[in-house]
Symmetry: C2
Subunit: 410 residues, 2 copies
């Protein structure tokens, strides 16, 4: 018989604990499922009009990251179609660092021009993060000098937090209270080489503290890694996103972003601060190296979207989004009002109220998600809203009216 105590094999849980995560996470998911807000299958007419085939129920998506509505832009759809027809293949199915299509090279050049930085494409933003962060930890990105202490902002996106154990096998991993520059400076004083990992615009609202971070970079050589997925395309004259629009690139800064949110296509991109890193990462960044990259259709969609980012239409869409955000802020003032980002939280306090509000909204034709502890603090439950440029004014006004009347009657 087996004499081992099974607890012998339990890991150290330094960075994660699935059991504990699931205790919280499953509760949130199953609550959404009970409310009929999970696993909804739809046909697409527009982001304002999704249709459940079986019931005919129609609703507007207020929880999509397609902030500019580019996911259904005819030029982007046609970009994908043209690329498929022109190349006559879905992909070459060989590591891109060996042989790659001129079409993908064109995209690299196009994104390099758009973001004024070497631009490495990837099959998703989180795959780029999974490939790159461990090489920052080991000291192979960000200049010679050995490993770096990796400091993760406590609110940084799951896609970065998920890679902590891999980084932790290369160097010391620490957590930092959200946007806490003093805490971060203390770490910079204590260790010679430090990297800070954060969102540019946070997925639950708000921004990073860019100015203070650049000051720490200047004074301590702090490496800055940003995922700016939630502001890419919607900010900056060419949609560079919040961080890129407000800094000059340098070898101690790296920005990744999703090309499947505001950008309206698929995949992800890493804007590099060091020319040398482009080939180095193509060769060595884990899944970037040996896994599939964005395929031909996605490359074509991205090329079309990049062109659109160079046209006056981008500014017009950004302006439309801004008007929708302003209108919403006027109707529902929150602590994020006026920050220009599309993610908003309508706080109702009580968890059950939040769930019921999201249920009622769905019944009335609007999909948005109830959020509560541990996503937000206890007693701060609410409904998360994501605004879009292609949200029609009528829809937005009647959505706000519906929320208002539901909150009064609650």
């Amino acid at each position: 018989m087996n004499q081992n105590d099974p607890s012998d094999i339990v890991g150290p849980h330094h960075y994660r604990n699935a059991e504990a995560m699931l205790a919280h996470g499953e509760r949130v998911w199953l609550r959404a499922a009970e409310s009929g807000l999970l696993d909804i299958h739809v046909d697409h007419e527009s982001n304002d009009r999704l249709i459940v085939r079986e019931t005919g129920h129609e609703f507007t998506l207020l929880c999509s990251c397609s902030y500019l509505g580019l996911n259904h832009h005819p030029r982007i759809i046609e970009g994908a179609v043209t690329a498929l027809r022109k190349t006559g293949t879905t992909a070459l199915s060989i590591a891109e660092i060996r042989v790659r299509l001129n079409l993908l090279v064109e995209l690299e050049e196009s994104l390099r021009d758009l973001y004024r930085a070497p631009a490495l494409p990837g099959v998703s933003c989180s795959v780029l993060t999974a490939g790159i962060l461990p090489l920052i930890a080991s000291g192979h990105i960000g200049g010679a000098g050995g490993p770096r202490v990796m400091v993760f902002d406590r609110f940084c996106h799951f896609s970065m937090a998920y890679i902590k154990p891999i980084c932790g096998d290369e160097s010391l991993v620490l957590n930092c209270p959200h946007n806490d520059l003093n805490y971060l400076e203390d770490i910079c004083k204590k260790y010679p080489r430090v990297a800070y990992v954060a969102d540019g615009a946070y997925s639950m609202g708000g921004r990073t503290v860019l100015e203070g971070l650049l000051d720490l970079q200047n004074r301590y050589g702090l490496f800055l890694y940003f995922d700016d997925s939630h502001s890419l395309s919607i900010e900056g004259p060419r949609g560079e996103g919040y961080v890129r629009a407000n800094i000059e690139m340098n070898p101690l800064t790296l920005i990744v972003g999703s090309l499947a949110k505001g950008f309206g296509a698929s995949g992800g991109v890493a804007m590099l601060g060091d020319e040398r890193d482009f080939q180095f990462l193509y060769r060595n960044a884990g899944p970037v190296t040996w896994s599939q990259n964005i395929d031909v259709a996605a490359t074509g969609a991205c090329l079309a979207s990049a062109d659109l980012h160079r046209s006056p239409e981008l500014g017009q869409l950004q302006e439309k989004l801004r008007r929708n955000i302003d209108y919403f802020d006027q109707r529902f003032p929150t602590r994020f009002s006026g920050n220009g980002l599309p993610i908003r939280l309508i706080e109702v306090g009580d968890e059950d109220l939040a769930v019921r509000l999201s249920e009622e909204l769905y019944r009335n034709g609007y999909y948005c998600s109830a959020v509560f502890f541990p996503i937000v603090a206890r007693g701060a439950a609410g409904v998360r809203i994501m605004l879009r440029a292609d949200l029609e004014t009528d829809r937005l006004v009647s959505f706000c009216n519906t929320v208002e009347s539901l909150m009064v009657s609650a």
Copy 2:
């Protein structure tokens, strides 16, 4: 001044060591670069005819994982185009577990039918692995009873080995000599709950030891996790791949595979042994949950390819591939001869000879990669070949002739 010894922050390097990996890896890459075999940009006419625009140099790809040539099948290209035109969007940009397109649901159903198992799609096979393996380690996949010891076959693909540190935060991680059933049985005797992580068909040639593993599963409740990317589509009456074609699914078995290799499209799929895991993984499998899934174009390409897998054409393509493999084996007998898989190694022994052979082959119009230590044992350097169904007989014959004459003259 800083008083800390920088070595304080060096990680334990239990599972990885970028410095050591790069010492080997960069040598291989830079050698390939010197030979002009890296970073080649091409236009696509067919897998047999890629063209370097600047020089007009044409060559045949003998290093593509598109084993059936489906990457340029007109029906698959049109599948992608039709999906884009029909849905009018690239994606909804919302977590699929919340709201997803009927098109993606159709693909789930189609793959479920093809593989006779619940089938979870993902943006890539390695993303599925990154999401699922930690939940096997923590004991949340594979039945109640707590964490499992994770045993990685020493030859398992990078995409699985990469996740060791994440698994290691949840449970004990061990390495197993390649296909060593005795070693594995000893671990099964020592610990009550064990999972084994392996390739079905290995990317450097050869197979897993399926029968022996199933025996261990029966006797010890061993969980089996396979990446069968290199045999998917090319084996099995419906292209289920080596493992799925030879076992019945059960809650202690999970198979992942790439849909971007033999399958000819994009993304990846997980064949699940437990119906309950489908929703559970959609909700909780890390990047599967919060990252983008396969987009509309890829979904359309996959749907078309799945249909093709149900037609007689699949058998015809498998047969064509088999004929090419047989011809090659006859011309260049190796230890893998007769195993039916498309990956072959032409061993030349000396590293420089291998590099020069791959250079000369490229000059003669054939791209294949030189492999040497640490990818293969010292003194066993050679050239890796990947055969395809769409490799024209003339090309294959003249390729074999070229290799022969180059080896004689060497």
